[in-house]
């Protein structure tokens, strides 16, 4: 297993480099455990044929108490969170038999994507209050409405429930209990989802360490997701040079029409 050895070596280097710094910053008396995660790359370029994949994040748990570890009472939750956007959730109602978008609520600073992997089911790791305080998990993300983005608190409650459901349905949000696995006493692997429609931009990966249901500390790293290929260049041109793009679209149409005439002219 050559790649794994290389990775382990890399992780050792990362933990050697990062740990002392981290230890100073987050030293809590009595808790000397640290958690680190590393990605093999800081940029992922996805091409137009991209149909979704798993992203594997490796991490290390250092200075763990061997007894607690043997009892399996260390838990790790890893999330990958996409760039924040504003979203509007709409509900269709019937008007004269026709389904029409009626009420809506606008939310702000919502992660466009959110993938979570954990050693076990969240409810087995800690009490709900802990996750609520950490805003960890699809149901605990703070779905912040725009100040004047809703009509009533009843509709806000209703739409706040629908937002994560819609995101889960689009595969943009996912929770994968059991997909953080310990490979050795210190090394773990988290498998996260990058859906086909993953948003481009800066994604943040965060690892949360729990011991006996108590949150100890977290660490994070970031990942840039960019799109590559001709199709993406077209997309970029359409957004960044939209006038030129529009003129080119007209030219292409005129040219295609003219070519067709040349090709099929009988005389």
């Amino acid at each position: 297993m050559k790649p794994l050895t290389a990775l382990l070596f890399l992780l050792v280097i990362i933990s050697v480099l990062v740990s002392p710094l981290n230890a100073v910053a987050q030293q809590i008396p009595g808790n000397k455990e640290t958690v680190e995660i590393g990605l093999s790359t800081d940029t992922i370029a996805i091409t137009s044929g991209f149909r979704g994949t798993d992203l594997t994040v490796f991490g290390a748990l250092d200075n763990a108490d061997p007894l607690i570890q043997r009892q399996g009472r260390y838990d790790i939750v890893v999330i990958l969170q996409g760039p924040e956007r504003n979203f509007v959730v709409r509900r269709k109602d019937r008007f004269f038999g026709v389904w029409v978008n009626a009420e809506s609520v606008t939310f702000q600073h919502i992660p466009a994507s959110y993938s979570l992997a954990s050693t076990r089911n969240l409810q087995d790791i800690a009490v709900p209050k802990t996750f609520a305080q950490l805003a960890l998990g699809v149901n605990n993300i703070f779905y912040e409405p725009m100040p004047d983005g809703f009509d009533s608190s009843a509709s806000l409650r209703e739409f706040t429930k629908e937002l994560p459901r819609l995101k889960l349905k689009q595969n943009l949000y996912s929770q994968r209990p059991g997909d953080v696995q310990f490979l050795s006493s210190t090394l773990f692997r988290a498998t996260l989802s990058l859906p086909a429609n993953v948003p481009v931009g800066k994604h943040v990966a965060r690892a949360f360490l729990f011991r006996n249901g108590e949150f100890l500390r977290e660490s994070s790293t970031s990942l840039n997701i960019v799109k590559a290929g001709l199709e993406y260049r077209i997309y970029k041109a359409a957004h960044e040079n939209s006038l030129l793009y529009g003129l080119f679209a007209v030219f292409l149409a005129v040219f295609t029409g003219w070519m067709g005439r040349l090709m099929f002219r009988k005389d």
């Binding site: 044929g49 509007v88 269709k92 978008n101 939310f107 459901r165 997309y235 939209s242 005129v254 029409g257």
Partner: protein
């Protein structure tokens, strides 16, 4: 959709993967019909794209772009033959550009309100059922007439109507008419508006309006209408590209190349076949597309809730 197959192509603006041959075939089929009947085909392309899960905003903007290809060559031919009234056409273009600009503004507004898809569908249901219905009636009537052994004669339009009492009259030599510019600008504006909201050229409204309202002789009607369509759809395309970024050139190119080829064969077949049956066939097709769109408006959606990136600060809900 082209799930994983090598025939799949990713549309950069519509942001979905589609099958190349389905879209090429769609373009060819509509091009064939437009060649056969001498219609633009934009009013069939946009609903077909919506059925194929292309977002309506992209379908409308790309539809307008695609119309340019088929109208340009036609306009060029008429220009060379001299069967095109440039002066009248230019006035229609001026009206059209104003109408298209207003249309784009309404388009953006509807998109922000989340009502664009509904309004596009509603407009198509209204237009397709009206036009399909009228065409079907007309072709059935003329089929009966042929059976009864009568000669089908075109009704001679009345000599004067209210349009000719309007002020600001202008003489159009190529069309041999002397008419107020108000109805011309208004007609152009109406077509421009439809072009930006529905992604059509609008020939199916323009041609009868020019004949019956403005009394333009039939020999210059088609050429002048195509002339206006080329400029107005070009303007609409650029406006859609700059305000909504919803023109998909990959999609447009697939449709255009299919359309150009299909139109050639359509024209040839159209010259050989009998008119009434063909018109009845097209009318049935138009009605079927309209009906399919109508059904979708009434059927309870799988999910009453939807999510989209918020385009503006809220307030209106």
């Amino acid at each position: 959709m082209g799930s994983g197959s090598e025939l799949g192509i990713y549309l950069p603006i519509a942001e979905i993967s589609v099958n190349i041959f389905v879209l090429f075939g769609m373009g060819a089929a509509v091009g064939f019909l437009s060649g056969m009947f001498g219609v633009g085909g934009g009013f069939l392309i946009t609903p077909l794209l919506i059925f194929y899960n292309i977002p309506p905003a992209v379908a409308v903007a790309t539809g307008a772009n695609q119309v340019i290809a088929s109208s340009f060559t036609g306009a060029l031919t008429h220009f060379k033959r001299g069967s095109l009234d440039v002066k009248l056409g230019t006035l229609l273009v001026i009206g059209g550009i104003v109408g298209a600009a207003v249309g784009i503004y309404v388009f953006v507004l509807l998109r922000e309100l989340g009502q664009l898809d509904l309004i596009v569908s509603l407009l198509y249901v209204i237009f397709l059922s009206t036009i399909g219905g009228l065409m079907l009636l007309e072709s059935i009537r003329s089929m009966r007439r042929t059976k009864a052994g009568q000669l089908s004669t075109l009704k001679k339009p009345g000599q004067h109507n209210w349009v000719h009492r309007l002020p600001f009259k202008m003489r159009f030599r190529a069309s041999k008419i002397y008419v107020s510019i108000i109805p011309i600008l208004a007609l152009g504006a109406a077509i421009g508006f439809l072009s930006s909201i529905m992604g059509v050229g609008g020939g199916f409204i323009m041609v009868p309006a020019m004949i019956y309202l403005l009394k333009v002789p039939t020999n210059v009607v088609i050429g002048t209408s195509l002339y206006q369509i080329v400029f107005v759809t070009a303007f609409t395309t650029v406006m859609q590209a700059t305000t909504n970024q919803s023109v998909d050139i990959v999609l447009a190119f697939l449709l255009m190349s299919g359309g150009v080829i299909g139109a050639q064969y359509g024209t040839r077949i159209g010259q050989k076949l009998r008119g009434e049956q063909l018109r009845a066939l097209l009318a049935t097709l138009v009605l079927a597309v309209g009906l399919r769109l109508a059904i979708e408006l009434f059927v309870t959606p799988d999910d009453l809730y939807s999510i989209a990136i918020a385009l503006v600060t809220p307030g209106a809900s």
